[in-house]
Point group: C2
Chain length 490, copies 2
């Protein structure tokens, strides 16, 4: 028996990703740009802790019935159950209820940060991801919904989705509710079943949804999903409602009013949509940016009025160049009962949430990565071990000139150092040996140019003689020459 | 028995803070400025997940001996224990070990984000806080330590601690180790006892540390801490070593060489400090910015060479205006064995870490808050309910002019709306009623000026007549007039 020390395996837990420079820079750019917009619209930042007490979080994840299902929960030393937040809305409701008396109301806040879901991990399915939310608590006005929609449009534009590359689709839960009440559907359970059926329209088509609205549907695997049990007549009116969307917001309102006709809740919903339309016009948001679409229902149970969804219109490709459907990149709506869970008093609220990692992935899949997000620093080659302090001074000089620069700090020779600079995607390397120090010069290598030139050189001797992309310059010109190379590399 | 619905109490878990605008803007400014510097020095961002497997995290928190002591841990559904990271170094060691073959080496990375410690919460004692780290993995050169030190100096300067307000104090574990070996102290446990005793010099003074180096010390409560058990002669040489610091790095090196004299490990430590000194000179880091101080040992067990600590020199005041000692705001050092826990191969590494929340608190306690961090947006008053879409267009116009602006979205009257703007610390309010719409004008109120003027007005009637800080202007001048007020309010 040997007495080997214990060596843990170096691996990240399942469903948790290590993110490196290109991903992080893209995600941070999104968060920075969106935050700037949100602050400009008067939304103030809020950051709540990672944990909430489990009873405060509630159970609003779709398809989770067991306690603590879907969340990471643990018991504190005072035996209270805490869970990592699964979204940023539940903590906001808790915060608003806790601080309601002292808040300036209506309270507009935005937030971003990781949320955690204890789901089965798989390829591309993570258990931790970054969300970014904006919400207004304390305003029942449809204009508050309109503001959130317009804010989301402006935010996504700033995040890299210019006009025409995404659209907000808007609906109102009250329309469908009114329609169902008029059709004699009374139970909340049945209404929820209808919502969930309509939510699958994209995936299952009219035929599948018709089955789910009626008796139920058997999928390819043979598994049976019980339906909402509507009558054929009720199913027809739901399908007519869902299909009432037009390209223009005003035309859709007209079409909807014909389908909904007369139930008080339905009329209320229509009136709210009309006010949202007017406010969006005031904010200059066109029908190509935000449209009414009655097929949008959103999966979450807690919405009470307007619901909306941001859909990507960009063509996205997977690794193999195949077109993939990205679909929704965010959504939200009005949830007037969430704060009341704590206080017992109805507190109107509305908000929008999008996945930062998901948007970054969508932008990457659409080929919209910014060049600056992948480049490394200028590398000062450690040519002469006795000259390290001098190389540090060179790097400092480049940094003072506004450039990103570093000295190679390993123990390898020239060839490995050039390879290192290459792997860092450095635009340039600086080489100063005894000759250069003595002559007051520096050798600068344009690494992109060097790569391009050497690709065409089959002769090793020619490569050595020409040193493609390399030039020796007066030491005083160093910052200016390197800056020119760096700027060309962007 | 009544059938009341369950109402959870709205409260954040103990030790978790809700952070609002002023705090968050200050923390984010720090992270942004520091990140910019770190990237410029060639450090690339890395973000690992919140969880690590418990065996990968290891047990490096000071004073925690039981498994999972001090961390938030839970069992995954495959029965593996996971724990939330308690710092950013352990996840880096895991990441570096996992990806060593594919990394461009030496690997420089920076990271920031929350870390979690499952400690007893108390006033000002949080269980979640933001750390910001920079590390170089794969370089044994003392120049790598020097670079980290200089980087920390540059980072803290960018974060709002200009030259003269903080100092990096540097030491090397090898010096004390060499000294102890020469004095016949052989066991690791005894050496650790000496480290922990010296670490308390600030708090206990020479007398207290002398007791802890010897037999032990009884504190005011009567609790006894066992000492390191050194001989009187060994205690004397430790105390002489600790007191050898001089104002100048070169002079300290000279003084230390006299105290250390001759042990191979001590000489190695001195040589490393000499190289660090030379590299710091190359980077233009003066003795006032980074000094050698043999009394710095750092609490963590895993350091193997250079250790350093950033000390605040600013005068800081508590809420009552009393001077408080903030002390260390960050630290780091060389830890050549941490990656080897996984791989079995020694992998040299060095890094610096500081607490973002702690630095923000220090800057606030020193009265160095930026004005922009507290101001709210311009508020467009909802004077006429039928004109909401027009008010939205006004807010959009202000935002297009680069200003932060919002429309009041509640249902209260004028007085409450002005109070709301006041509470948001808005610089200005815009009032447009039917008269103004008809005349093509707008009324703008400078809220700071209004507050100043009305402070001197005891007569309510005069206040009403004069409307302090209020002016009616042509509608076309709105953005320009409001911008002037906002700029004056910064």
């Amino acid at each position: 028996m040997t007495d080997q020390p214990f060596r843990p395996e170096a691996r990240a837990p399942r469903g948790f990703a290590d993110k490196r420079a290109a991903t992080l820079r893209a995600e941070r750019r999104i968060v920075e740009q969106v935050s700037k917009v949100y602050e400009q619209w008067g939304f103030e930042p809020l950051d709540t802790g990672a944990f909430e007490y489990a009873d405060a979080l509630g159970k609003f994840l779709p398809d989770s019935d067991r306690p603590n299902e879907g969340v990471f929960a643990l018991q504190d030393d005072d035996e209270q159950w805490m869970a990592l937040r699964y979204d940023l809305t539940a903590p906001l409701a808790r915060f608003a209820a806790q601080n309601w008396e002292t808040l300036a109301k209506p309270y507009r806040r935005y937030a971003f940060g990781p949320v955690w879901r204890n789901e089965k991990p798989g390829p591309g399915r993570y258990r931790e991801f970054i969300q970014c939310d904006a919400d207004t608590v304390g305003s029942a006005r449809p204009e508050a919904d309109a503001e959130i929609i317009a804010l989301a449009v402006a935010g996504l534009e700033a995040a890299g989705l210019p006009r025409g590359t995404a659209v907000m689709k808007i609906n109102n839960r009250k329309l469908l509710n009114g329609l169902l009440t008029a059709a004699g559907v009374a139970t909340e359970g049945q209404k929820l079943g209808v919502l969930r059926a309509v939510d699958k329209l994209d995936r299952l088509g009219t035929e599948g949804v018709t089955l789910l609205l009626g008796e139920g549907r058997k999928d390819e695997s043979g598994a049976f999903t019980k339906g909402a049990g509507l009558t054929a007549k009720a199913i027809d009116s739901v399908l007519a409602f869902v299909a009432a969307g037009q390209t223009d917001r005003g035309a859709t309102l007209d079409a909807l009013s014909k389908v909904i006709g007369g139930s008080p809740e339905g009329d209320e919903g229509l009136e709210e949509l009309a006010k949202i339309d007017a406010a969006l016009k005031g904010l200059g948001v066109g029908g190509d940016q935000a449209a009414f679409d009655p097929s949008i229902v959103r999966g979450l149970e807690y919405y009470t009025g307007a619901v909306f969804e941001a859909d990507l219109l960009l063509e996205t490709l997977d690794d193999k160049g195949q077109a993939i459907r990205f679909g929704s990149i965010g959504g939200g709506g009005r949830y007037d009962d969430l704060v009341a869970r704590f206080t017992g008093e109805r507190t109107p609220a509305t908000g929008f949430s999008f996945g930062v990692s998901r948007l970054a992935a969508a932008l990457a899949a659409a080929g919209r990565t910014e060049a600056g997000e992948t480049r490394g620093p200028v590398v000062v080659i450690a040519f002469d071990q006795a000259r390290m302090a001098d190389y540090f001074a060179v790097a400092a000089e480049l940094r003072n000139g506004g450039l990103a620069a570093e000295v190679y700090l390993g123990s390898s020779g020239m060839r490995a150092q050039m390879k290192y600079a290459d792997r860092r995607l450095s635009p340039a390397a600086v080489i100063i040996g005894e000759d250069e120090f003595a002559a007051g010069t520096a050798t600068v290598k344009d690494l992109d140019l060097g790569r391009d030139l050497s690709r065409d050189m089959t002769d090793n001797a020619a490569w050595k003689a020409e040193r493609p992309g390399q030039q020796t310059i007066p030491r005083a010109d160093l910052v200016a020459v390197v800056r020119k190379i760096v700027e060309a590399a962007q």
